[in-house]
Subunit: 209 residues, 2 copies
Amino acid sequence: MEAQQLQSPSKREQQKEARRNAIIDAGYQEFALQGFTATKLDDVAVRAGIGKGTIYLYFDSKETLFQEVIRKNLFPIRDEAQSYAAEFKGSATEHLTSHFRRMYQALHQDRMPELVQLVMGEGLRFPEIADFFFREIISSNQELIQGIIQKGVEDGEFRASFNAEFTQILIAPAMVSALWRLQLEKQSPLDIEAYADTHIEFILRGLKT
Amino acid sequence: MEAQQLQSPSKREQQKEARRNAIIDAGYQEFALQGFTATKLDDVAVRAGIGKGTIYLYFDSKETLFQEVIRKNLFPIRDEAQSYAAEFKGSATEHLTSHFRRMYQALHQDRMPELVQLVMGEGLRFPEIADFFFREIISSNQELIQGIIQKGVEDGEFRASFNAEFTQILIAPAMVSALWRLQLEKQSPLDIEAYADTHIEFILRGLKT
DNA sequence: TTATATTGACTGACCGGTCAGTCAGTTTTA
DNA sequence: TAAAACTGACTGACCGGTCAGTCAATATAA
């Protein structure tokens, strides 16, 4: 029995895992659409195709579900960025360029802009999420960029005088582009391709020796 | 009698104006502290030292009050920036430097970081506020910066190849610094002075010929 | 000047709608 | 058939918005 469980989860366990993911998925879509406070668990349940009570078999509270939604959706992005960076072969300039290109791609795919707004607008009010977000996402990205810059300095590609402590200066325009696309597109459409090009060129120019 | 009313407002009229401002003030503080959705009009009333019903003698709804709070607090900043820019004498480099210094000062004074988060997180969900914010604040600031850059290009201080359409790239790091200060200070304190210095230097380096 | 009438600013108890969270009963699985 | 999973009607707290009544400020009358 135990051996069988280790080899392949029972039908029940598979079902449970599927349910859990369905709820997180539905939560993601509703939270992204409505924001945390305005999201109704009834709607999440309908979207997941289950009864509301079932949610409470998998999560303690709306807040817990919210945290899990954020977690589950940001982890893959971080992991992918890290493994990509670890394997990258090329100059610091090339690396930085491709890192930011991938960042733009990630930030504008699917419901990421909504997630950015969610985290910035409401998420950071939850200490747990602010903590998680900083520790797992921001820090990781900062260290990654700092690593690239340091290599660039060592190789003589980048100047040493830029205070690499402040990677926010490099990243912020990308975050803002996601928010803009989401909320101010009507007032003033943004050509993300051109924006990203301009931004990356600006960064390189600011860092080059 | 009528003459007297024109010269100095009656006691009632003074009272009315004072009340209105007290409510906006109280609303500002509560909204900044709790966010729009979580703010209770009861609390606003208590803070303003009045009954809840009174709010509805001055504003149609919670949303209207919110709009007025945003408006009242952002107008002065915009106006000051505009008149300062109009009178500025000096090179484009000096002008851009001082413009951004003033922007940092404005963004980090009083409850401005909270206001930034409020607008970015919840405000933009209200089309009216997104519209107002874009039309009265962002546009104005963009045009101002574009003007400075253009002068810099004409005077040969700045390169012509930067796409000045994307002023967001220049501004975003300042906005993000306000959010950081507000929410991520615990995880990783930010030295705003040094940050602003680095940012401004980075901008100039990116624009200079 | 004093007494009376009118105005309108203000109040807070109240109402109706909403929704997170619960639990007794039902269905599914092993 | 026992246990586990699931359900959705229900509850109670919450809160934006209302309105009948109060009272201070002002206008009018005596």
